[in-house]
């Protein structure tokens, strides 16, 4: 659907290879845009008041006022129609029309120009006795609250609403998350945690209008390590930023997600004798899981416990889903230089430039769109910033692990390094990638395949995690469960 000042109209979406495409002529009809295909039908020029956007058939690139922009999927030109990925329309049309253009994926609405929409902000506060979730709207809106078995649903039956923070993860186990699902009635779903006891709600007419939901908790269990079964491996959750800090508990660590690199068709590196990286990483990860549980009493989960292909972003999403305190990705290295040997521990490199430009993009997004919603562009930006606030801890964890690895395996330490590893990008917790040894080196390949050497490596990893835990306990000594955590995004 397209909403503009003069009214609404339906758009025809076509799905091609997983991308939703829409005919551009239908979108810009009546908006004063001239469409000019070139003679051979390879490109289409959109012009309005001297500004130009050029689309290219079967390319996921477009020229916007001479600057190249990437699109989420290739443009398709066929039978005189030009199909454009709908979530890329804002970056094409906003500069062309010099108007606010916004794609709201959840509500399936493209908004052109200034269309008034109530703006909803979600605030969560976690205390010892429960959690409070407040939905605040700048205009008076109806809130419809209903309680289901595992969740509480709030509907706001208005045409369009703008949601400042569509997803909030909540610590403490009373409420697990608050998520904007959209739909006709603009539904929010509040997932109840295992400690949920009962709900009280109250409303203030405003403005600003407020719905206050108080979720009371069961008394805190004495056991530190819950025996409850882990959350199901659902579809990867939407990217999360501004995740509520997990309250520290005597050293702060409870859950570790271990990521055995590669898997399935994607075998990773291959040693000269044929040893596969995906097998070595899974063997080490399994040993590490039991060693962390038995040695340090931590819950540990694997992103894959069999030989299967798992997309990189799903691995970090898995750790976010489990609200892991640490994410450790296990790999075996390979180099074109056959003499290369030794272990390396990586954490994510963030160039100041990148972060600045992303923050800027975020601010621009807010300024231009009047606040982020469930749009595709914004989700990417937040996902990409998930690891940013944990870099210091990630660096400390990498150092402790590398020191122990160098000690135990006797391999010459190649040190702690930084690189833009995709698997670490979306992790909303301290995260490292361990290159245990070089599988491309014949001697190290043999060691990697041996049980004894794998056990040595695992013991080094456990010591590293343990020393990091002590370091963090010293730092967070004064903090205990019950600290009020207000997830905020500034």
């Amino acid at each position: 659907m397209l909403a503009e000042k003069t009214g609404r109209r339906e758009l025809t979406l076509t799905n091609r290879g997983g991308a939703d495409l829409v005919p551009i002529a239908q979108v810009v009809a009546g908006l004063g845009v001239t469409l000019a295909p070139d003679a051979r039908g390879l490109s289409l020029t959109l012009s309005a008041q001297g500004r130009e956007v050029v689309l290219y058939d079967r390319k996921s690139l477009a020229s916007v006022g001479g600057d190249l922009r990437l699109l989420s999927a290739p443009v398709v030109g066929e039978e005189g129609r030009w199909l454009v990925p709908v979530d890329s329309l804002p970056r094409l049309l906003q500069p062309l029309l010099a108007q606010k253009v916004e794609w709201r994926a959840a509500a399936h609405v493209l908004i052109v120009g200034e269309v008034s929409a109530p703006r909803i902000t979600v605030t969560t506060v976690v205390g010892r006795d429960g959690a409070r979730v407040v939905l605040e709207s700048n205009e008076a809106v109806p809130f419809r609250v209903s309680q289901e078995e595992k969740r509480v649903v709030v509907a706001i039956p208005r045409d369009v609403v703008e949601v400042v923070n569509p997803t909030e993860r909540v610590a403490g186990g009373v409420v697990d998350s608050v998520q904007f699902l959209g739909g006709r009635d603009n539904v929010f779903a509040i997932a109840l945690g295992r400690r949920f006891l009962q709900l009280k709600s109250s409303e203030e007419a405003g403005p600003p209008a407020r719905l206050v939901l108080d979720f009371q908790a069961q008394p805190l269990p004495v056991a530190v390590f819950p025996t409850a079964s882990p959350p199901p491996m659902a579809a990867p959750p939407p990217p999360v930023a501004g995740t509520a800090q997990r309250p520290a508990e005597q050293g702060g660590l409870r859950t570790v997600v271990i990521d055995p690199g590669h898997g399935g068709e994607e075998v990773g590196a291959k040693g000269p004798a044929g040893t596969l990286e995906k097998d070595v990483t899974l063997a080490i990860a399994r040993k590490l899981r039991s060693a962390l549980a038995n040695g340090l009493g931590l819950q540990a989960f694997l992103t894959r416990d069999r030989d299967a292909e798992v997309p990189l972003d799903d691995r970090a999403a898995f750790a976010n889903n489990y609200k892991a305190d640490l994410f450790i990705s296990i790999h075996a290295n390979a180099s074109r230089s056959h003499g290369a040997k030794g272990s390396e521990v990586y954490f994510l490199s963030y160039q100041a430039n990148d972060e600045e430009s992303r923050r800027l993009a975020l601010m621009e997004g807010q300024a231009v769109q009047g606040g982020p919603s469930g749009g595709g562009d914004l989700a990417v930006i937040l996902w990409d910033m998930a690891q940013a606030e944990h870099l210091e801890d990630s660096s400390a964890l990498a150092s402790r692990i590398q020191e122990e690895l160098a000690e135990v395996t006797g391999s010459q330490g190649r040190g702690v390094k930084q690189a833009p590893f995709r698997v670490l990008v979306g992790a909303a917790m301290p995260a490292v990638l361990v290159e245990v040894a070089f599988i491309s080196n014949s001697a190290e390949e043999k060691q990697l395949a041996s049980e004894a050497y794998q056990a040595k490596i695992v013991s080094a990893l456990v010591k590293g995690v343990s020393r990091y835990q002590q370091q963090r306990a010293g730092r967070d000594g004064a903090v205990s469960f019950g600290t009020v955590a207000v997830p905020g995004r500034n």
Binding site: R58, K59, S60, L61, G66, D67, L68, L70, P74, G261, H262, E266, V267, G268, A269, K270, E277, L312, H331, A332, N333, A334, S335, R336, S337, G339, A340, E344, Y346, S349, Q351, N353, D354, D384, K417, A419, P420, F421, R422, V423, V425, L433, E435, F438, I439, S440
Partner: protein
């Protein structure tokens, strides 16, 4: 006709001949320098700039290519003369194609030799987009080290040679790629990383032909 008059006509004809040569020189001058390969796609220049353009045709510039060090992990630099092109995207393409060709001084390759450069764009903000064929993906070595070396052999080579290029994004088959072999994030333009230079620098080898 007096001899004096004949001399005048001869002089006049000679002047005309020289003038004609001077004006048309840019059109045939390159024939005298046949051994120099012409820069591809140089467009015809207006008469005033034609002479300068003709001089440019033979210009070559030295570029630094970042390739795998032969005897240790990391990148080493090889200098090479390539044909100068006034078009930045064309020059970038030439450098990436040289990288694909590999070393002439004993360094190791960083890209499969079958890889083709499909497209190069340089944005006004200093981001070079390098679109490579699918052979760039799924490196036979498959490890992080090898992948880092491949990615930064391109990123470092382009940012080191062209001050206008600040960051590089590698695309594969016309599309943004997540990674080449499961490790290094290609979804954003990357700035150079000079820490990947091999520990003991290899002497640069000039291999200009």
């Amino acid at each position: 006709m007096t001899p004096r008059r004949a001399n005048l006509i001869t002089v006049g004809l000679l002047v005309l001949l020289f003038a004609g040569m001077a004006v048309t020189a840019p059109r045939w001058a390159h024939l005298l320098r046949r051994e120099v390969p012409e820069a591809g796609g140089s467009s015809p220049a207006p008469a005033a700039a034609a002479e300068e353009e003709a001089a440019r045709v033979e210009r070559r510039i030295n570029v630094k290519l970042f390739l795998q060090a032969p005897d240790r992990t990391g990148l080493a630099i090889e200098e090479r003369a390539v044909t100068f092109s006034s078009d930045l995207a064309g020059q970038v393409r030439a450098v990436v194609e040289e990288l694909i060709q590999g070393s002439k001084s004993g360094l190791q390759p960083t890209l499969a030799p079958q890889t083709r450069v499909l497209e190069v764009f340089v944005s006004p903000r200093g981001v070079a987009y390098v679109d490579l064929s699918k052979e760039a993906q799924g490196l036979s070595e498959g490890g992080s080290e090898a992948e880092l070396i491949t990615v930064y052999s391109i990123v470092n080579s382009l940012t080191a040679n062209f001050p206008a290029i600040k960051r590089v994004q590698i695309l594969v088959e016309d599309k943004p790629a997540t990674t080449l072999a499961g490790h290094i994030d290609l979804t954003h333009p990357l700035p150079p990383d000079m820490t990947l230079l091999a520990a003991a620098p290899v002497q640069p080898v000039g291999s200009a032909q």
